[in-house]
């Protein structure tokens, strides 16, 4: 049995230690917001936060997440500025990659609340969106940054 902490809830799963976090989240905990797309850490659709850092759950074995705090798209509050900005700017098309994209962006903004254009591209080049929502993702990030600034002022 492996214990893990996901979205502030404690779970125990009976899987081998080399099973990746992605399949535990999806098939064992039924948290299907985290997506499978490449399985090799190339596309970012499976991105979650592990101790606050954006990581690819499809290449992280369970042995590495014991005792760590995991947050998935379901655990990111619905009033989080990135989620709100994504709705305001109508970022998703098919939307399949977006949970991973949102987790990537929210981790970036928690470390760099006002990222430069280069810092954004540098981080966002780790994710793939086949619908081509990149211009809307950029817009969404700008809007989320503004929303966060307003929240800080309050």
């Amino acid at each position: 049995m492996i214990s893990l902490n996901v979205n502030d809830k404690k779970y125990k799963v009976d899987v081998p230690e080399d099973v990746t976090l992605l399949w535990v989240l999806r098939d064992h905990l039924k948290l299907t917001g985290t997506k499978y797309s490449c399985g090799i850490g190339e596309c970012g659709a499976c991105t979650v936060h592990i101790n606050g850092k954006a990581e690819r759950s499809c290449v992280i074995p369970m042995s590495q997440v014991k005792g760590k705090k995991i947050t998935t798209i379901e655990g990111l509050p619905d009033n989080h500025p990135v989620k709100k900005a994504w709705i305001q700017e109508q970022v998703p098309q098919c939307g399949f990659c977006q949970p991973g994209v949102i987790m990537q962006v929210s981790a970036l903004l928690s470390q760099k609340p006002s990222p430069t254009a280069d810092q954004i591209i540098n981080k966002m080049d780790d994710v793939i969106c086949r619908c081509g929502t990149y211009p809307r993702i950029k817009k969404g990030i700008q809007t989320a940054v503004q929303m966060m600034k307003k929240e800080v002022k309050k």
């Binding site: 985290t34 797309s37 659709a45 109508q90 619908c131 929502t133 950029k138």
Partner: protein, 734 residues
């Protein structure tokens, strides 16, 4: 979004039900409120107004990010004069009722959702509004002309009375449907033409949207004891398994069954991770298949060789050979467009549950009619016992209109007597994709002394799209699916898929490349590759004629207002003819298909030391007739441009030893944010017939890039993708 709507849920509602039946001869609007069995109907759209004051709209097209649920509902809600807040939108089941009037099947392809449903949906909404007004007038005993519908309420201003649609629906349900309900005038539109937020966005942002891959026993209650399967598939075309270790796979914890099926060796387990571990343990040995020598060079050589053979005649007007013989100037060029993969972010998958008296399939598909047929074929159940539940699609690009993922799930569920979800790994998804058909083109063009086009001889070879799936669709050796954008049959349901230029002497010839590679429509079908060849060649002709590429195009489109207008619009917006920064190149291209006209201008620069192309800006103009939802329209063009740029710069499926060698995003690269240019989309205001939009961003882009590359370097490369290596090789040769 409820992904498990059954036909029964139609029947639970009472109130006013309007259905529209569309045939090639016109449409009929029906009052379906009293009908106990809606199966006896054959309408194409449904809307229910119920006493709880809700308007529920069922949409038969698949939602893959194009915003079809929102746009079709906007049309109905607008004509119905409903309050958007009272509208509930649901994905309809697979039903004859929801077949596309244009395509004859319930299938979301060919940019046809608006082309097929715009008129009928308007009528359906308008009929509902007329009936509700009549119901109110009869209730109050006042003339209908004194009543008006405003946001879900009928009002009688004189007596200051009003009744909601919810209160009126049962009275209205007893009325006859008006034959020709009055439609709103454009200035009365409440939703159409205005940007409306897409209804599917919030749940997608929250991670709550259910895609095919997400179906499980928590979101679909019938799926208790769901099993998960993956399949070891032949690594090369025509390969058969020689041996595999079934025992080793069965010993993996969680593995329930290992089964040989026509598609390969399936491993069923209690979770995907266990199935994947089981698949690895199989250690399958395969034979060498049917084409052990096939690789990229083999494919290109064979298809180039085709151009020296005689093909099937597609079209002949005037005498192209004679015109070329008499031309003041003659130009000839040969182009190659390789295979590209759909590579949707959600890999192919399906979940099936076969029981004695019914079969349910949950899948992200673009072809409910096809899914139903495939499931019926395997289960031998009558069609009414097959229930297709369409989930959200993690991108479509045409791939999901070929539902080869459905039979696997049905076969395995039938054998296991349990619900089974089959997941394709990314490697499966790329290797067993049905690619965009590769093409070679050889074009000869003739100009008179004034630089006017006089003759065009066009020979093209492609892998046939339809031959493996519907050989009857091929007439006299011609597969028109490969030719859209160059030529099409008369009265084609795909509208204006022909070369737009006015060419007095035109000859088109087609060859079917004899290769085992399976191909299938890929966003815009072959309009992309055909536009690439035509529009690159137009620039080559313009150069020979000594004319500006824009001027040369307009000169050969004199009677084509819509093509000219998109070209002029894009040229003006992009500043065509004005100086551009040193070292940059600018290119233009236009294309028409699916009832819409599109043009683009591309600005780029080329790093002559590395061969890397940087596209700075793409300006696009589209004329699709009436606009329903402008936001998603722009997104579709933007997304199409980015997708096409990916194919122009980097995508090419690699083949080796008779099979597909590319298998994941590390060796099949896809465009990312850093390579995405600034994009401007300009919608040309137009009152012409409504056209499609989902595929129109793609065709003009690759030729506009190639033309801009020539403008920047003076070097013409006649193939894509323009990878740094291809560019460096060409620059060195020049």
């Amino acid at each position: 979004m409820n992904t498990t709507i059954s036909r029964r849920s139609f029947l639970k509602l009472t109130g006013l039900t309007i259905a529209v039946s569309v045939t090639p001869f016109g449409h009929t609007i029906l009052n379906a409120s009293e009908k106990k069995d809606l199966m006896t109907f054959n309408p194409n759209a449904w809307l229910h107004i119920t006493s709880d004051n809700k308007v529920t709209i069922y949409i038969g097209n698949s939602e893959m990010g194009q915003g079809v649920l929102t746009a079709q509902s906007m049309i109905i809600a607008d004509e119905l004069e409903a309050d958007w807040k009272q509208v509930k939108i649901k994905q309809g089941p697979a039903a004859d009722a929801l077949k596309s009037p244009i395509l004859g099947a319930q299938i979301t392809v060919g940019s046809a959702s608006m082309r097929g449903f715009y008129e009928p949906l308007r009528k359906a909404g308008a009929a509902g509004r007329a009936m509700l007004i009549k119901a109110a007038a009869e209730t109050w005993k006042v003339p209908e002309s004194e009543c008006k519908a405003v946001l879900g309420t009928v009002k009688h201003d004189k007596s200051k009375r009003s009744l909601t649609y919810g209160r009126l629906c049962e009275t209205a349900a007893k009325l006859e449907v008006p034959k020709d309900p009055p439609l709103k005038k454009e200035e009365e539109f409440r939703y159409m033409g205005k940007p409306m937020p897409r209804v599917d966005v919030p749940e997608k942002v929250r991670g709550k949207a259910v895609y095919g891959l997400d179906v499980n026993d928590e979101n679909v209650k019938e799926l208790k004891d769901l099993h998960y399967a993956v399949i070891a598939r032949p690594p090369v075309y025509g390969a058969k398994s020689v041996s595999f270790d079934q025992k080793a796979a069965e010993q993996v914890k969680g593995v329930v069954k290992v089964m040989q099926i026509p598609q390969g060796i399936a491993v069923c387990a209690t979770s995907t991770d266990a199935a994947l571990t089981g698949k690895d343990a199989l250690k399958v040995q395969w034979d060498k298949g049917t084409h052990p020598d096939m690789d990229n060079a083999y494919i290109e050589k064979l298809m180039m060789g085709d151009l020296d053979k005689q093909g099937a005649k597609v079209h002949e007007a005037g005498d192209a050979k004679k015109a070329l013989g008499e031309a003041a100037k003659k130009v000839e060029a040969t182009y190659y467009i390789p295979c590209v993969a759909h590579a949707t972010m959600e890999p192919m998958n399906a979940t099936a549950y076969v029981q004695a008296d019914r079969c349910d399939v949950w899948s992200p598909n673009q072809n409910q009619t096809g899914c139903k047929g495939m499931a019926a074929g395997i289960t031998k159940l009558p069609p009414e016992k097959i229930h297709i539940h369409t989930t959200f699609l993690g991108c479509g690009l045409g791939r999901r209109a070929f539902a080869d993922f459905v039979p696997e799930a049905v076969i395995l569920s039938k054998a296991l007597e349990k619900p089974v979800k089959v997941t394709w790994t990314r490697e499966d998804d790329i290797r067993y994709d049905r690619f965009r058909a590769p093409m070679t083109h050889r074009i000869q063009g003739g100009l008179d002394a004034q630089g006017q086009l006089t003759g065009w001889y066009h020979k093209t070879s492609a892998i046939s799209i339809m031959k493996p799936v519907n050989p009857r669709a091929i007439k006299d050796g011609v597969d028109f699916y490969c030719l859209w954008g160059l030529w099409d049959v008369p009265d084609s349901p795909h509208w204006n898929g022909k070369i737009q230029y006015e060419i007095p002497n035109l000859f088109i010839e087609f060859l079917m490349a004899d290769l085992p590679i399976l191909c299938w429509p890929w966003r815009s079908v072959q309009n992309g590759p055909n536009a690439y060849a035509i529009e690159c060649f137009m620039d080559e002709l313009a150069l020979a004629a000594g004319k500006d590429p824009l001027e040369f195009r307009l000169q050969n489109l004199k009677n084509n207002k819509r093509a000219s207008r998109v070209l002029q619009t894009v040229a003006e917006k992009a500043g065509w003819g004005k100086p551009i920064p040193k070292g940059q190149g600018r290119g233009i291209a236009q294309h028409a298909c699916f009832g819409t006209w599109a043009a683009q201008v591309v600005d780029l620069s080329v790093d002559k030391n590395t061969g890397k192309i940087k596209v700075h800006r793409v300006v696009a103009a589209v004329d699709c007739g009436p606009v329903i939802n402008p936001g998603p329209l722009e997104e579709q063009i933007e997304g199409g441009i980015i997708l096409a740029l990916s194919t122009a710069l980097m995508e090419e499926v690699k083949f080796a030893d008779g099979g597909v060698a590319s298998d994941n995003f590390h060796d099949y690269p896809i465009i990312r944010m850093s390579e995405t240019p600034e994009i401007e989309v300009h919608i040309v205001k137009s009152t012409d017939k409504i056209g499609g939009i989902g595929e129109l961003g793609v065709p003009p882009l690759a030729p506009a890039v190639a033309n801009a590359f020539f403008n920047a370097t003076g070097v013409r490369i006649r193939r894509i993708p323009l990878t740094p290596k291809v560019v460096m090789d060409a620059l060195k040769k020049a």
